[in-house]
Symmetry: C2
Subunit: 321 residues, 2 copies
């Protein structure tokens, strides 16, 4: 009997990753195509599904494709569209699910990347038995997937869970969204880099980080400097954790989750980021919430989480889970 699988697709600004995923979360035949090189969404989809079909055919795997789950920037679960994604070439509203139907006429579900990460965490990661939790993705920006009572919170328009754009600092740093002081301008890979540059200006300490241009600096380099005891790097993690922790406390006051998972490159910095985040989260909590909300690394940290999450989105629908 053919193995029942779904296609999980993670559309990023530069690359689009995909994989074939069975219901247990085994991901195989995974690969990627270029996103940025396609100014037109139809040429992108031709490339993507042409590549997927070829991969499947040449593998001779005996599979039955049950559905397609897609995580995409500004992906709207209700409409199946990508709506006004600032960092994609395709402007306006892209009716993605309808467009994909032309290639595969099977159930298709779309959501944003952070919601997909939350679904992945629930189905294949560390949130297996949890009904209420939050996943924070710390990448170029800060994304959030919020689960309440076993379901991702989409809100009345499909766009809930934009914790990256809550105002963390009044009249703070300029954000790509047009506002100022958004949480992701402080708590993200880009945010900690901005903090490092502020500290390099403020302090006189020697630091390896003084040799690196803004455009070249990565959060991994900051982590490596911290490992060597670089004071600028250590203080940058401290400041990042302080702002993130305080805002996680506010999120807890909202939905009282059992756990908050941190995912992405910055989360890989371990105690450098977890320790100050936990400290300032606890410090800003009401007594009834103190010492009971777990702050955990994602259970999918080293896996293809976005593809697994996109696959989980459609598996959840197919299995009425």
């Amino acid at each position: 009997m053919a193995r029942e699988v779904v296609i999980g697709i993670d559309i990023g600004a530069t690359y689009t990753k995909y994989g074939i995923v069975d219901r247990k979360g085994d991901c195989f035949l995974d690969n990627s195509v270029n996103t940025y090189g396609h100014p037109d969404v139809n040429s992108f989809l031709d490339d993507l599904f042409g590549t997927i079909k070829k991969t499947i055919e040449s593998s001779q795997a005996e599979i039955k494709i049950m559905g397609i789950g897609v995580g995409a920037p500004n992906g709207n679960y209700y409409t199946g569209s990508i709506e006004y994604a600032p960092n994609l070439n395709w402007k306006g509203v892209i009716p993605l699910a309808s467009l994909i139907k032309r290639y595969f006429d099977i159930p298709i579900a779309v959501t944003n990347d952070a919601n997909a990460a939350a679904l992945g965490e629930m189905m294949y990661g560390g949130a297996g038995n949890m009904k209420d939790f939050i996943v924070i993705t710390l990448g170029t920006g800060l994304g959030s997937g919020i689960v309440v009572n076993g379901n991702v919170v989409y809100g009345h328009d499909g766009f809930a869970g934009e914790l990256g754009h809550i105002v963390a600092v009044d009249n703070g740093r300029q954000c790509g969204c047009g506002k100022r002081g958004c949480l992701e301008t402080y708590a993200s890979a880009t945010g900690i880099k901005r903090t490092v540059f502020e500290l390099l200006a403020d302090y006189t300490d020697n630091s390896d980080l003084r040799k690196i241009a803004f455009d070249d600096l990565t959060s991994k380099m900051i982590y490596e400097a911290a490992l060597k005891g670089d004071r600028i790097a250590l203080v940058a993690f401290e400041i990042t954790g302080k702002i993130l922790g305080k805002n996680l406390a506010n999120a807890i006051a909202f939905s009282s989750p059992e756990a908050i998972f941190l995912f992405g490159g910055l989360a890989g910095a371990g105690d450098f980021i977890f320790s100050p985040t936990r400290e300032h989260m606890e410090k800003n909590l009401l007594k009834i919430f103190q010492n009971k909300v777990k702050l955990l690394p994602s259970g999918l940290q080293d896996k293809n989480a976005a593809v697994l999450g996109a696959a989980g989105l459609i598996w959840k629908e197919l299995l009425h889970f």
Copy 2:
């Protein structure tokens, strides 16, 4: 045939209100007993249910009591208990639902007052057809009831929806909860009063409010001063709306509701509070959320909202609504 009704009970620190409510939200035989005068919860319940039974008997109403819904400070929906309510005489964990069972052995549900207000808004107020909305109660403190996908968000422990205690101002005003800068120290009847006193210190304008002691000042007096064009009062509403609006924008980024309802004395100040709140809410929203979230006065503003909400809590369960 006897009319099917429930008992709605709203436990406040000073008084406890109750009413008999049918499924359409008609509230009758409503009255209140003293809360504060009972240092022991059992003597309170004897008084409350003794009074209710007498009221029903003497009315000779032909009713069938289907259940009891209770809104109470720190009421926990999952456990049916009142847990560590700071402003009640009864300390620790009070297993309220079990205690009430001794008087009426029928379905009983407990939640906090703001969640009850949200249920009231959904069943008998302005949120009739909405699946995602938030009710903010602006009383002595700031309470919030959050509805996602047609259900009140209780969180993993029953305590979700504490927006009064999100950190609105770093190292800000002292809060009764032990923290500093909590939203309710600015946006509530007490909060605006504190703002008035700050302004009376800062400015030299003449103001009727200079004749009133802190303990005597009410938000109604501030409203009346604003009506007369008192500058201190007008600026106080402006500041209150600015802080409230910004934090409502953050709440929208979280759950993307269709509407936010303001309830309570301060909400009665109409445009004085709605106008700056709306302005600063919109100003702090991501573009995808702008001009689509309604900011509305509660549809229960002049009704016995807390009793209706408590009744709605148990009606919702009985009707599997």
